[in-house]
Structures are given as structure tokens and as C-alpha cells.
Amino acid sequence: MAASRSPRQTATTGKAATPRPTATRRRASPKVSTITAVNARAAKAASGSLDLVHVPAAKPAPARPRLDDDATIRHGDVDEWGRSERMRALARQVYDPLYSKWFRVEWEGLEKIPANGGALLVANHAGAIPSDAPVIMHGIEKELERPVYGLADYFFRKVPVLGTMWSRLGGLPAHPDNAYRLLREQKQLVLVFPEGTKGPSKHASERYQLARFGRGGFVEIAMRAGVPVIPIAVVGAEESMPIIAKLPSVAKAAGLPYMPVTANMMALGPLGLVGYFPAKFKLRVLDPVYFNVEPDQERYSKSRIMDESEKIRDHIQTELYDMLRERRSIWFG
């Protein structure tokens, strides 16, 4: 990068470095120099033989270069977060049959998600390879025609191919700075699963039991960004890929957050690694939670954050039980 002593530069300008008359003297005492150039300006100021000493005129500042703007230069449409609308559109086409025919997704209360302005979407998280994130992102992009950015564990970023695809489709590491910038400055919809990996990694026997909501970071970010939290209760993801056993030693050896044995693998063999069961998906958007605090504060009351976080978790949990009470069949809703 910098401080480059490049061969090219030497090649272009080497000849230009004029040997000065005092070069020999300088070499004789390499550590302390002799003055090699007369201060021309000072000479001009003081000297009577003004006309003999050519003073280089101060060069005018070069005009700003005329350049094409980024839109004409660029070849792709990948944004600063790595999302590409073209890739996303392609994925929507490929994914739509799965969304509408396989999972037969039904939304309730979609109108509670604002058509513009930032909001933090918060949902329960399930399925060995969570099927809820694509469903939510696809559904909102399809119905509301606005992008959704999904925050997730940075683990994805380390996985070749998958990490790049995840990024192009709107995923990004759940860093508070990323969330803040997206919500506050770019007024986007951001999806986050506060359960983290504790959600998808739970055993089938614990389905629809919400895990701890992290440390309430999502509430703090929403407060700082001045946006509402919109909770979403998701039914169906648990049964699309239930975990019947876990292999912690394999997970550790492979460097994975968890290594599930899923019912899908039992039923479908190797195909079960990627094949979801056709569980009926129902999503219920709950009332947005506004915090009524001043945005951009350095700190927010930790007790308030934990209270709000717990309240949101409770609300989603209650609604889930409610939806499960109404559900007659896992496959038909």
C-alpha cells in the first residue's frame, strides 16, 4: 500500500532525479546532509540578482478530474452490505414455488409492517437449517416490495460459497454498527432472531419454547436507531426440519455451531440435509413496539432494555401458544 518504493516508480522517475552538484559531498558524510537546494523563494525575496534565479511559479491547484459517476462505471449492483437486487430477484423466482406451494405461507397482520421507514423485525427461530428467515424475507419483499436485511451469526461469512450467497441475498453479520446504520441512516427493514443459534439448535421436544433473547441487544439497537421493534410469531419452521439428536463432538471437530441429526435425514437420507418437510407456515405480525426514548444516546437503562426484551419474548410466546391452539394439523394448518 503506502510507503511504496516501487520498481515502477523508480523506472519512470529515476532519470528525473537529477544528480545535484553537491552529491559527492553528501555521500562523504551520509548522516548529516548539506543543503542541496537553495530556497528559491527566500532567494527571490532577498536577492538583487533576482532575474537570474528562475523561481518556479507556484503551480495552480489542478482542476478536479472529470469522472464518470459510479453508476456508469460499475458492472454489478452489489450494495455496501453485499446484497444484490438482481441476485435477490433471481432467488425470489427460484424460491417462490417453495414459498407458496410447499410451505403455503399465510401471513396475518402484514399491514403492521411499515411501507417505508426503518423497523427491526424480530421473530422466533427454528429448524435445523432455519427455514423461517427466507420465508420472512421473501414474504415481505413479495408483498411490500421492499428489501429486508437479515442479521445473522458471522459464522456464515466464514463458509465459502454459502457465505457469499447469504451475503448477496441480504444477509449480514449481526454487528450493532451494521444494524444501526441500516435502521437509522438508511431506514431499512432489518430482520433479527434474538434467540441466535439457541433457537434452531434446540431439540424437537422443545419446539415453540422460546430460548433466551440474547442480552437484549436488539432492544438497545432499536432504541438507539429510534425505530420500532415489530415482533413476528412463526409457526411451521419447527416441523420443517426438526432435530432429533445432536452430535456435539462432530460439531466441535467441524467447527460448526451445532451438528444436528434431523428427522429429514432419517426419512429422506442424504436429501434430508437440504429437504424440508412441507409443514404449513403461518406468520403473525404483532403490534409494533415503540420505546419513546431519545435516539442516539450513548447508553440506555439496562433494566429497561431487559424488561422490554422480556416483554417482547413473552408476547411472541403467548401468540405462538395461541396459534398452536388453533392449529389442527402440522401439514395443513
Partner: protein, 368 residues
């Protein structure tokens, strides 16, 4: 930090600037730019090697790599401004040990000299790099000046720059009357500079990491020089990221250069790339391999808010680079190498036959 002006202000008497690393790309460029500035009276350049660019009135002083002689020079020349460009951020340039000498020991000696009790130094600008943020999967998309690195810095370059910044902070704290600014530059690209990334982009196939396509940020070499002069002119203190707007996926960077990528195995290390390096194909040290996995973006808004306007975005910088490459392919490296005017000027300046009045330079100095 307060930014007091000396009584009578350096601007009124003209700045006396010390540029470290005069023989490097940056030192030379900065000195050239300073020469065009009439408010700068004296420019003194330090380096271990001779400057490679044409300089009109900069005085070159040969020093050893770690500047042990520096205190003497600072005292003797009574400089008020130090522009510290001699920091190695490209690990392919020298060994780890040599880099430590230049970066850490050099900076230590520089600040030791500048903080001497009778020191006249009132402005210090240090040219660091965004490598101090490290590079890893848990990084945010944009680093602000206050974001700490996500994980402990392990690469020699990162660590040596981090130590350098530690000295800068200490110096700023101990010398509140000095305006200290620290500029962190993103990947520099442009028509002339050569870095591991530009070398990679000039290969027939651009190396990439299989399955990774991180986003890169670039800053044009002219913006680098302009930003340093801007900070100097505006007496800015503090830390500033310097980087062009926008992030570009590496495959897009390659495609802007009209190249395809050649994916390397994703878990390759620089040790495994050793044969490729020995063959002289490309030298990609570990920090660059990491960049090819995760990329890095820095928030450039702090300097913009201070009033700086970038000439180039990341994409425009890459375009300027590839256009310069194309031009070089056609006309070669030939710039006019002989100019009789220059020789005549040399004659006017240095020949004993030219009648000049008494040592103007010295008289000027005794005034200050």
C-alpha cells in the same frame, strides 16, 4: 485537542515542514505538493534513500532507518510541522524485523525528537493505514475511527501500525499544544502506485478466494496526498479514515480491470503460496489473503464532515488505475527524461558563476 497557533502563527512566517520517507512514493508526492504551496517556507525530507521524484526546493537529508539522528535535525532546522509518511504498510517490501525498525523504532525516535523541551513542532501528521482495524469475519461492514478491531491483531504489519498509533496517542496526550492528526488510509490505488493488490490486478488472471467475494474499498493516490494537505491546511487534529466512497466486490474489481478471477483454495495460507511467490507471480501475504476472504470497509464521513471532498470514489479509483495501466501498455514507462530547462535551473541555483546575494536561506532562518 486544542489547536493553538504560535504567536505570530506559523502561517505568517511560513511553515517549516519535515517530511519523513522522502524517497518513498508518498514522501516524494507530499514534498512536491508542498513545494507548490507558497505558505510553506522550508521543506526538509528525510530518508535512507534518495528521492526518486523531481523536487525543486526540498532539502534532502540522508538518515538511517530508525532516525536516531532526528532530535538533532529537528532542533537545528526548527521545523514546526512533521509529516510522517515513512510507515511501511506493505509487508512484501521488507522483512518483519526491518519493518519494526522503520515503523515502531522510527516513530518512537521521531516523537522523542518532537517532544524535546525546546521543540518547535506544532503540527504532526501521521500516515497510518486501515490495516490497524484487522480483518475478520466478525468485522462490521464499516469501521468508524472509534471501532476497535474485532479480534486481537496478529499480523506483523497490523501490530506494528498499532504500536505506532500508540506512540501517536501518547505524544498527543503529552503535548496538548501540538496538533496531532492520524490518517488511516484504505487500499490505495491509482495511476502510479504499486501495491500487492495492484500487482494482483495486473496479472492475466486475478487471484481470488474460492467461494468468497468480499467487498473492497479503495482510495485514489491523489486523494491521499490531497487529504494530507487538507489536514495540514485546516489544522485538524484526531484520527481520520481516508477512503473512497463505496465498496466493490472483488470479482467486480477484476471485471472493471477486464480480468477474470483465478480462485485459490479458500483455506490456503501464505506459506502454501510460497512457490508462487518464489516464481515471482504474485506475493500475497496473509493479511491480503484475509482481505480476499472478508474485505474491509471504513467510514470516511468524519473527514468529509470536516470539509474534505474526495475526487474519486472506490470505483472511480479502480477505473483510473486500469486506464493508467492501459496507457502504460501502449506508450511504456517513457516520460520525457531530459529537459534542458531543468539543467539551466540547476546552473542558476548552484553554479558559483551565478551572482547571488548573501545566503538568503540563512538570513531567513535567523528571522524566525
Amino acid at each position: 485537542m486544542p489547536a493553538p497557533q504560535l504567536p505570530g502563527g506559523p502561517h505568517q512566517t511560513g511553515r517549516r515542514v519535515l517530511v519523513t520517507g522522502l524517497g518513498t512514493f508518498w514522501g516524494g508526492r507530499i514534498a512536491q505538493a508542498l513545494e507548490a504551496d507558497p505558505t510553506v517556507d522550508v521543506i526538509i525530507g528525510l530518508d535512507t534513500t534518495e528521492p526518486t521524484v523531481e523536487l525543486e526546493r526540498t532539502e534532502y537529508v540522508r538518515v538511517d532507518a530508525n532516525y536516531s539522528i532526528l532530535a538533532k535535525i529537528v532542533r537545528a532546522t526548527r521545523v514546526d510541522t512533521i509529516i510522517h509518511t515513512f510507515l511501511v504498510v506493505d509487508p512484501t517490501q521488507m522483512s518483519k524485523r526491518a519493518m519494526h525498525e522503520v515503523n515502531v523504532i522510527g516513530t518512537m525516535n521521531l516523537f522523542a525528537a518532537a517532544s524535546a523541551p525546546d521543540s518547535t513542532v506544532r503540527n504532526v501528521i501521521v500516515k497510518s493505514a486501515t490495516a490497524v482495524y484487522g480483518c475478520g469475519p466478525e468485522d462490521p461492514t464499516w469501521f468508524t475511527e472509534d471501532t476497535p478491531p474485532s479480534r486481537a491483531l496478529r499480523r506483523p504489519v497490523e501490530r506494528s501500525l498499532d504500536q505506532v498509533e500508540g506512540y501517536v496517542r501518547d505524544f498527543a496526550e503529552d503535548n496538548p499544544h501540538v496538533v496531532v492528526s492520524l490518517l488511516r488510509f484504505s487500499n490505495v490505488i491509482g495511476s502510479e502506485i504499486v501495491t500487492p493488490l495492484t500487482r494482483a490486478l495486473e496479472l492475466p488472471l486475478v487471484p481470488s478466494m474460492f467461494g468468497f467475494d468480499p467487498r473492497f474499498q479503495f482510495v485514489h493516490e491523489d486523494d491521499v496526498v490531497r487529504s494530507i494537505l487538507f489536514v495540514l491546511d485546516h489544522n485538524l487534529s484526531g484520527v481520520y479514515n481516508v477512503a473512497g466512497d463505496g465498496l466493490l466486490p472483488w470479482t467486480e474489481v477484476a471485471s472493471l480491470c477486464g480480468k477474470s478471477t483465478f480462485p485459490l483454495p479458500p483455506y490456503i495460507s501464505d506459506a502454501l503460496l510460497w512457490p508462487v511467490k518464489r516464481l515471482g507471480i504474485v506475493d500475497l501475504p496473509e493479511e491480503y489473503l484475509n482481505l480476499l476472504r472478508f474485505g474491509r470497509g471504513v467510514d470516511n464521513r468524519k473527514l468529509k464532515d470536516a470539509g474534505f471532498e474526495y475526487d474519486y470514489t472506490s470505483a472511480q479509483s479502480v477505473k483510473a488505475f486500469i486506464e493508467a495501466v492501459r496507457l502504460r501498455k501502449t506508450i511504456g514507462n517513457n516520460t520525457p527524461s531530459y529537459s534542458y530547462e531543468r539543467d539551466v535551473e540547476q546552473f542558476f541555483r548552484h553554479s558559483p558563476s551565478v551572482v547571488r546575494e548573501a545566503p538568503a536561506y540563512d538570513r531567513r532562518r535567523s528571522d524566525t
